[in-house]
Structure formats: structure tokens, C-alpha cells
């Protein structure tokens, strides 16, 4: 009951904002090209989502037809780049972060370089990414993996460095080898940090995918928004933006659900 109340109060502000927006448009106070009404956005959104041609069983299955809409294709394209980029970036960051967190030598070797590269926004790599990887998915995936790399790296390093030393003392007391200490104590103790890093990295990947699609590819939500701009289709721009928002929210909810499930032993800040 309380949960529904919570959800209800969470939906109140968006509803009021929508109503205000609709009012502004209906009263003709804003130019429809500059800010189309929510209804117009909704109509465009539907048109963008729905399959372009009538269903024809000769062309393939019903499911394939359902997914043939432009919006679905764009969303799948963006999602594909986000996931590939995230797994490449995160997959490289995780082992490096574990090594840097565990070994002072590794930390000393890599940290200066990391600190110099970290503040460079992935967008700054756009010219090089095109030079190195040409056009299409590769430069986009490259940019996204850079975006996902650093949050995962920094959090993994912090996670390993912040393992409470008492757990290591227990490990040594029970006779654990260094390898066992790493796999059974340091790694699980660091997972809350690693998950946080993955979540932030995924968020960054979503930001970067939109930018990357504005330069090098010809589908995806970022591309579609830019394309709509050329035609001054502001309703489609807004529909695309909300799609990105909802997709991002969906992924984040999935990730946080996964981490809550895997970290059910965890209770936020560790008490003794």
C-alpha cells in the first residue's frame, strides 16, 4: 500500500509538468515548432514506433514485423553499441583496477597515466576515433568504451583499496594463501564498489552513444535526433529524447536489481 502511495506521489510532478506544457501549447503561447505540445509528441512517437509497412507473412514472422519500426531499430542499434562498448571498456578496466588496487607497484606504474587521461572527455576523442576506426560502429564503440572504462576502473581500485584489513587478518589467521585471500576475501569485499562503478559506467556509455551516433553512423537514437533537427521536426526530437531517457532508466533499473540480488548480504555502509 505504502509502495503505491510512493509511486503515486512520484508521478504527480511529471503529470503537472505535462499539463502545464499542454496548456502552454493549447493556448498558443509558444510556437509549435519551438515546443510542440505533448500530444503532438505522443502522436509522432507512435508513428516513429509503429512498423512502416503492413504485415506480410511472406516477409517474415510477426515478431520481426513488430520490431521493424524505425524507433525500435534505432533503440536496438544504440543498445548494441552501448553494450559492446560497455563490455569492452569495463572488461579492460576490471582486471587493471583489481591489479592497481591490490599492488602498490601497479598503482605507482599506472596511476599517473590514468589521472592524465581520465579528465579527457570521450567526446574529445572523436577526431582520432574517426582517423583510427573510420566510420560506422567501430569509432562509436571505441568512444563508448572509453566512457565506461574510467568509472569502472576508479571504483574497482577504490573497492580493493578499501577492503577492511580485519578481513585480511582473519584470512591470514585461518591460513589462507594470497590467492585465496584475493579470490575469497578481496574480490567479494570489493564488489559493492565494482557494481557502483559499472552503474556509473553504463550511464556514461549512454551519454556517449548519443554523441557518437551524431558523427559516425546512420542509425540509432542519437542519429535520429540529429536527422530530425535537419527537418525541424521538434516533436520527433523530443520523442527521441524521451526514448533515450526511458531506455537508460530501464537499464539502470535492471542493473540495480541485479546488484541488489547479488549483494543481498550487503547493508550499505558496513558496520562491524
Amino acid at each position: 500500500m505504502k509502495r503505491y502511495k510512493h509511486a503515486a506521489s512520484g508521478i504527480l510532478v511529471p503529470l503537472v509538468a505535462l499539463a502545464l506544457w499542454q496548456l502552454l501549447s493549447s493556448m498558443g503561447w509558444v510556437n509549435a515548432t519551438i515546443l510542440p505540445s505533448p500530444l503532438r509528441v505522443l502522436v509522432k512517437w507512435w508513428a516513429y514506433l509503429r512498423p512502416l509497412e503492413a504485415f506480410d507473412s511472406a516477409q517474415g514472422s510477426y515478431l520481426k514485423w513488430c520490431l521493424s519500426g524505425e524507433l525500435i531499430q534505432d533503440a536496438l542499434g544504440s543498445l548494441y553499441r552501448v553494450l559492446v562498448g560497455f563490455f569492452i571498456g569495463g572488461g579492460l578496466a576490471l582486471p587493471l583496477g583489481l591489479a592497481m588496487g591490490y599492488s602498490r607497484v601497479m598503482y605507482g606504474l599506472f596511476n599517473p597515466l590514468v589521472q592524465v587521461l581520465r579528465p579527457i572527455p570521450p567526446i574529445a576523442y572523436i577526431p582520432l576515433s574517426i582517423l583510427w576506426f573510420g566510420l560506422g560502429n567501430p569509432p562509436a564503440v571505441f568512444l563508448i568504451s572509453i566512457g565506461a572504462f574510467f568509472p569502472v576502473l576508479m571504483n574497482t581500485v577504490a573497492g580493493v583499496q578499501n577492503v577492511d584489513s580485519i578481513y585480511l587478518r582473519v584470512g591470514r589467521n585461518l591460513g589462507a594463501s594470497r590467492l585465496t585471500q584475493f579470490t575469497h576475501i578481496i574480490l567479494p569485499a570489493a564488489t559493492p564498489y565494482i557494481f557502483t562503478g559499472a552503474r556509473i559506467g553504463m550511464g556514461t556509455a549512454f551519454i556517449v552513444v548519443i554523441v557518437s551516433e551524431m558523427i559516425a553512423v546512420n542509425n540509432g537514437l542519437g542519429y535520429r535526433i540529429l536527422e530530425a533537427r535537419e527537418y525541424l521536426w521538434s516533436d520527433k526530437i523530443i520523442a527521441g529524447m524521451f526514448t533515450i531517457g526511458l531506455l537508460g532508466l530501464g537499464i539502470d533499473t535492471l542493473m540495480s536489481g541485479l546488484s541488489t540480488h547479488l549483494l543481498k548480504w550487503h547493508r550499505g555502509l558496513e558496520q562491524s
Partner: protein, 266 residues
Amino acid sequence: MSGAKHISIQGVHKVFQSGGQEVYALKAIDLEVARGEFVCLLGPSGCGKSTLLNAVAGFSLPSSGTITVEGVPITEPGPDRGMVFQEYALFPWMTVEQNIAFGLQIKQVAKAVIQAKVDELLVLLNLQDFRRRYPKDLSGGMRQRVAIARVLAIDSPIMLMDEPFGALDALTRRNLQDELLRLWTELKKTILFVTHSIEEALYLADRTVVMTYRPGTIKRDLSIDLPRPRDVASPAFNALKKELSQLLMEEQHRHQQDEFKGAAVD
């Protein structure tokens, strides 16, 4: 309790550097603990009792002097000296069962053997209903039972206990003290137990070693010959309590003077 000497501490010094000064946490400690003996280290905070325990555990070796277990000098921590910490230190990502099994898993004991041992310990410490719980869902007393079970699982002949019941309420504390005595009688461990509670030391130990505040030395080594279970209200118990209070008060007084001096310097 008498038996062959199990832990032997000879001429142990432990020096820390503090603000360019050498501070003796431990000075010329000589102590022998017999097999199966229950010895309490008693003293005010800062007297080095935990330092001494950590030295025996092998976490921080003495600056000079030797500590031997069964005649073999200690160089590192090991499962022959299981330690129970005040802050429990259970692995929060492992269930009760997994925590208890961890020490055996390390030794690569066969799964069936581990399971049997864990089952036995769960019963012994009354934890059957909690085997699949995570530490965060347990009370302090329950957690300390798990920590004790974890050490018992590896069957170390020596148990080192660092104020294990210090964070518990009085009732739970007495309860666990009784259980510890039961386990000790049953399993014949040698126990070195750090506490700052006079009553706890008198209730538990065969011998109570009172330590001085900086430098940490042994002030008094007192055999407690009261029959068990001990009656905390008996005149004999209270006579000993008074005697130990007197000794501790002197050290507490020096501790306070030191703190005032420190405050004046700051």
C-alpha cells in the same frame, strides 16, 4: 590445570615510534601458558594486552624476545592459533555456514567432512536455525558464536580472544561466557583471553595476568583457584575482585595522568 607449557613468551619487547619518541608497548614480558590453561590478560586500555595477543597471533612480531608455541618460534599468523576478534570480523558476504566452513575449505578438506563438521558446530553453538543467514541479520551475540565456531572448525589447539564479549550486553555476555567455559572444558583448548573487565577475568580464568600501563609489563600473575561454576556473589570472589580493582586503579590513575600531560602539551 597443569600440563606441559604450550605458549612460552620470553623477554618480549615491543617498541613503537611515536612523534620521534620510542614508546614501549611491551617491556620484558615473560609468560608461560600451560596446555589447556585459560589465561586472562587484564589491564586498562593502552597497557599492551592486545599488542601481546597480536604478537602471539603473529600479526605483529615483537621487537625483541621470543614467543614459541610448543617450542617452535612464531613467525607468522597460522591456523594453530585461531583468533576471535571483538568486532566479530565475520565475512559479510558469506552465510553463517560458509563463514564456519571457510577455514576448512582453505585446507581443502573433503566436502562431506566439512559439512559434517559444520553441522556439528552449528549444534554445539546453537546456531542450527541460522545456518543460511548472513551476518547482517544476526545479533551481536549470535555473530560472536559464529566467530567462535569459525575458529573451532579449524580445530586450533590455541584460541586467542581479543575482548570478544566487550561489545555485548551484560546478559548475552554472561551467556557466552558460560558457553565458552563449557566448550573449553569439553574441547580442552588453551585460551589466551584479553579483557578489561575484572569480573570477566575472575569468572573465566585459571590465571589472571594484570598488566601495567606504559610500558606494558606484568604487574601481577594471579591464580584463581575458585571452583567452577563460580559464584560472583561469594565472599571469595569479591575479595579477589577488590584486590584486582586496587591493582587496576593504580594503572588507570597513571593512564589518566598521562592523558592530562598529553593534553597540556597539545
